[in-house]
Structure formats: C-alpha cells, structure tokens
C-alpha cells in the first residue's frame, strides 16, 4: 500500500512538472527550448510511475522484503524526536544563533533519545555548541550564524 501511495505521489509530481514545462518553450529559433528536456523527463517519469503502479497492483513489489513505512513503538518515538529536533534547530538557527541552538539541540535530543546522565549531557552539549563553534568559526573560518543575543 505504502509503495503505491509513494508511486502515485511521484506520478503526480512528474505529471505536474511536465504540465508546468509545457508553459516554457519546447522549441525556439535556436532549437530545443527551456521546456523541452523537463517536459520529456516529466512524461517519462509519469509513464514509469504508472508502469510500476500497475506492476505493484499485480503483486510485483519493488522491494524484496518490504518494510513497514512508518515505524512503531520506541523506534517511532526516536525517529520523531530526531526529526522534530532538526526542524526546531532549523527554525532557531539564525535568530538564536549556532551556539544557543546547538546547546539546546544536543541536550534535548540526547535526553529524548534516552540519555539520563546530566553531567554527560551538559558536557556533550557544551562541546557540540560552543566547542564546535570555536573550531568552525575561528579555526576553519566557516561562517556560522550569531543570534540576536549576540551569542
């Protein structure tokens, strides 16, 4: 079922992109236009998605040993914690700055993943925020965001 949903979504994406590509010129005075390649790719992708959908309906799954798409139990909790932390970090990255974001990201994620030793969490979070910032920003001169608080 999950496979068919994903293939249908891909089919829609390909179909949509082929449709949009029709809005660009397929040909112009110099030859193939901006829409030429994406249109044919979209059409080919749509045809392949449909072929795989038909194959899937007839019982021919792509995967040799299909896995459940959505995790369950402890695995689901951990995967969700990872994704949620990443999303929050991405939201805070520029306004709060690298150091504060990573301090809370590391500490929060370690806690969510089941680490319960406060000193270990604190040391790891400090090293991975202020420590990493020092290495990248000052030593390697990699530009990292400094937040509204100047940290």
């Amino acid at each position: 079922m999950a496979e068919r949903v994903v293939l249908a979504c891909l089919g829609l994406l390909f179909g949509g992109m082929a449709w949009i590509a029709l809005g660009y010129s397929l040909r112009d005075a110099l030859g193939p236009g901006a829409g030429f390649f994406p249109f044919w790719l979209g059409a080919l992708g749509l045809a392949l998605s449909l072929a795989l959908l038909v194959q899937s309906w007839r019982g021919g799954s792509i995967a040799e040993a299909p896995l459940a798409l959505l995790p369950r139990g402890e695995g689901a909790r951990r995967a969700l914690a990872l994704l949620a932390s990443l999303a929050v970090a991405a939201l805070l990255f520029q306004p709060a700055g690298f150091r504060l974001t990573m301090l809370f990201f590391s500490a929060g994620l370690l806690f969510a993943l089941g680490v319960r030793r406060p000193i270990v969490i604190a040391l790891f979070a400090l090293a991975s925020s202020f420590g990493l910032f020092h290495v990248f920003y000052y030593w390697l001169q990699v530009p990292l965001p400094i937040g509204l608080l100047g940290i």
Partner: protein, 495 residues
C-alpha cells in the same frame, strides 16, 4: 616523459608538509566515517566539506579524496566485526569476513583487507597515471553529441545495474534529472520551476540533497533498529599465515584487475566489482564450499576490487567529468565549489592540481596501510560508541555542512526534506545512487543535448552520424535491454 615530469612535480607537492597533513587527516577522518555506523562515504564526504573551506583548492581536493578512499576502507571494519557494511561496496566482505571474525580470525581478515586494498589502490593509481593523460587528450576531441552519449551511457548503466528493479532505478534517474532542471536554464538563462522563490533560482543544492538522502535517512533508519554488538575476536594477529598468503595472492591480483576495469566504466557502481571479484574467486576455487564459512579469498578479492575500483573510478571523473558513484559525485561538487571543473580541460588548465591530487592517491594508500594495520584495535573500539551520541554528532555536522555552503537556511530545509525522502525510498528499496547521479549530470546532459541539436538545427540524426556516439548509444541500449530481459521473467513470475 611529460607525464613523468608532471608526476614528479605532483609528488613534490603531495609530499609537502601541508598536503601530507591534509592527506593524513583525510585518511583518518575517512576511516572514522567508514567505521562509524550511520555514515556512508557519500554523506561523510559531504558533511566534511566545510572542514576544507579554509584550504586552497589542491589541499581541499587532496583531503576530500583521502576521506573518500579512507571511508572505502573503513567500511570493511564494520563488515568484519559487526556484519554491517559501512558502505555498499563492503557488503560482500561481510560474507566471509564476519565468519573469520567469529572464528577468532578477525585480525587476519582486517589485515588482508588492508593489504589487498593497498595493492588494489596502488595498481589502479599507476594505471590512472598511464591511462588518464591520453584519455583526456582524446576527450578534447569530443563534441557535445559525444558527451551526451557518454553521460547517457553512464546513466543507463546506473539504471540497469542498481537495485532489484530496472524500472525503479530508471524512475530514480529521471527524478534526479528532473530535480536538476529546477533553477536557471543552463542554455537560455530563464528560470524554471522556481515559482518566484529566490532560493530556487540557484537550483536545489547537491550537497544538502546528498546529506539528507544518505546521512539523515541513515540516522532515521538506525533509530528504529536495535543496536548491534561487535564480535569479540582476536585482533592481535593481523598478518596471514603462509597458507593464507598462498590463497590470497592470486585473489588480490584478480580482484585488482576486476576492480580496475569496472572502475573505468562510468556509472557501474562499487557493488558490482566486489561481487564479481567474489564470484570469480568462488568459481576458480577448488574448494568453493569454504566460501561463506570464512575463506580468506572471500575477503582479499572483494577488498582489492573495492579499492582498485575506487581509484580507477577517478579516471572517467578526472578525464571526462563523469562521476561513477554518489561519493565521486560529492567530490565533483567539491571541485565545483572550489571553482574547478573536472573533465578533459583539467589536465591542460590545472596540471599542478590534477597531478598533485594523483600523487596524493599514492601517498594516501601508503598512509592508509600504515594507519590501518597498527590502529585496527582503535578503530574497532569506535564501534562501541553509543547510537545516541553518534546520532547527535552526525546531525550536528549535517546542519553545519548544509548551512555553511551558502549560509542558507533553505539548504538546511532541503537537507531535512531529502532526509525524509531518503528514509521512505530506502524502506521501499528505491535505489538512491541513480537519483544522485541524475541530479549531478542533469544540467550537463541537458546542455550537451540541446547544444547538439542546435548544431544540427534540430536534426536528431547528428547522434547517428558520429561513430563514437553510435557506439555509446548502442551500448546504452544493450545495457537497458539486457537488464529488462533479466527483469521480464521475474515480473511474469511475480504477476
């Protein structure tokens, strides 16, 4: 003679203290990436690109190349000790390597893997020195139609050989190509699929996509799986016995040959050479029943093939600008970030860089051997790192890597989105390598096709009037038809 002079200059550069340090650091970091479960060479190389921002282009490429082949070796350690390949090419090593570890011969398995990798790497690099300059000269005569046919051939090989279903691999190739269409049209300069979003005018960043597909998705998948314990095995005895040497020498040479020749073919991927080397050994063996039960040839041959392939794959990359695997595609991204375009002009325009990098392959292989044999116990210890710390560490590097390329938070969101996409695709066994190669080759292949058609005034017969084009198009058709025929009976059976 010219080649020799260039190579000597390359060695002079590669052996300078700074470049030697970068190669050493790259080998160590690469092995670390290969060893740590949850990071393959593609994602590992991608997330370490920010470490090279401060370096000059030659230093950056030397370090990233060292990370690449270090990671290729590092994957062997997890294959032997926990039966989990650190990267795809090490899948075959699990079969006999892990059995050897269970029998208390883990040290010997890792030792022969290091020696085989060294031989494979050095031989392939010697061949690279011999083959690359004339090939680059020949490629200078290629026009857009030849480049189009060559890239098409590479994509057909990836689609034909990746994964269980050719249709699924083709679908992923098309998806990669189509994603590459987002942004400014490379021929006319008009925006496509940008929907007035400024971040989309530059297209979807290749490095954030790779980090998401390979790095984030791997961590998400690992979060669901229970932790694997390393096998307690003897790591003190690394060198094989006289009987084991006798069995391994032929396997190492044959594996090197197979890896090298398959590395020349763009798009073949790293799994095929290792499988072929393994199967060849099993077929040639007088006692094939030992395979799967700890046969040392089952480790020596695929590991030699793996490293010979890794170094030989640099030939189509450096001379034609065609990456053979996702990791080399990441290296290509790094070249482009440093303002260098791999391809036939590279040997003319930047001989200093290209020969220093080639010389660093020799140096790197020696460093890897020196690093891996004595430190194998230390690498094995790293397998005991808890998933929680590893996951946070990997995600931190992914965030830094994705953001720092263009100081764009949009790239971070792209990485997260492709992490979820990669997680879903991997669960459904939709192959990721064709998607990545499609994404990096999308723009050049479109440019070659359209320039060819402009040259001919829209006449497609231009591809049928040039002998090399015809040869490559026939080869592409053979690959696809061959794969489809192999697929057909299976599809019918399943239906």
């Amino acid at each position: 003679m010219d080649t020799l002079q260039h190579l000597v200059s390359g060695f002079a550069a590669a052996l300078s203290p700074a470049y030697l340090t970068y190669a050493l650091a790259g080998c160590a970091l690469g092995t670390l990436i290969g060893v740590l479960p949850g990071l393959g060479p593609a994602a590992g190389t991608a997330i370490l690109i920010p470490l090279t921002f401060k370096l000059d282009p030659t230093g950056a490429i030397i370090m990233l190349s060292a990370i690449y082949y270090g990671a290729m070796y590092g994957g062997t350690i997890t294959s032997v000790l926990i039966n989990v390949p650190g990267e795809a090419a090490s899948v075959v090593t699990c079969i006999d390597g892990h059995q050897m570890a269970k029998q208390g011969r883990g040290g010997t398995a890792l030792g022969i893997a290091a020696i085989g990798s060294f031989v494979g790497g050095i031989v392939a690099t010697v061949a690279l020195v011999v083959v690359a300059p004339p090939l680059a000269k020949l490629a200078l005569r290629f026009g857009p139609p030849e480049f189009f046919a060559l890239m098409l051939f590479g994509l057909c090989l990836v689609s034909g050989l990746a994964g269980r279903s050719m249709l699924a691999a083709l679908l992923m190739t098309v998806l990669g190509l189509l994603l590459a269409m987002i942004g400014i049209d490379p021929v006319r300069g008009a925006p496509r699929f940008a929907f007035d979003v400024p971040d989309l005018y530059d297209g979807i960043g290749f490095i954030p996509v790779v980090m998401g597909l390979f790095g984030i998705s791997e961590i998400l998948l690992a979060a669901e799986a229970p932790a694997l314990a390393a096998v307690r095995t003897r790591l003190s005895r690394l060198l094989p016995s006289r009987e084991e040497w006798r069995r391994s020498i032929g396997a190492i040479w044959r594996g090197t040959g197979i890896g090298f020749f398959l590395g020349l073919i763009p798009g073949i991927g790293s799994i095929v050479p290792t499988f072929m080397a393994y199967v060849a050994e099993k077929r040639l063996s007088k006692t094939p029943e030992r395979f799967g039960r700890g046969a040392i040839e089952g480790v020596a041959a695929p590991e030699s093939a793996n490293n010979a392939y890794a170094n030989a794959a640099m030939i189509p990359f450096l001379t034609l600008g065609i990456p053979s695997s996702p990791t080399i595609a990441v290296l290509m991204g790094a070249f482009i970030i440093n303002g260098i375009t791999p391809g036939p002009f590279l040997f003319q325009e930047r001989p200093d860089l290209v020969w220093a990098v080639i010389a660093s392959f020799f140096v790197g292989n020696v460093i890897l051997l020196a690093l891996n044999l004595p430190l194998v116990g230390l690498w094995a210890k790293l397998l005991e790192v808890r998933f929680e710390y590893l996951a946070v560490g990997v995600l931190l590097f992914c965030l830094v890597g994705a953001y720092s390329l263009q100081q764009s938070i949009f790239d971070v969101w792209v990485m997260i989105a492709f992490g979820v996409v990669g997680y879903v695709f991997r669960k459904l066994e939709l192959p990721l390598a064709p998607l990545v190669l499609g994404l990096i080759l999308g723009s050049p292949i479109e440019k070659s096709l359209r320039t060819s058609l402009e040259m001919s005034g829209g006449d497609y017969s231009i591809f049928l009037t040039r002998p090399l084009c015809v040869g490559l198009l026939i080869a592409s058709s053979v690959v696809l038809i061959g794969s489809a025929l192999k697929l057909a009976p299976k599809t019918l059976r399943e239906a």
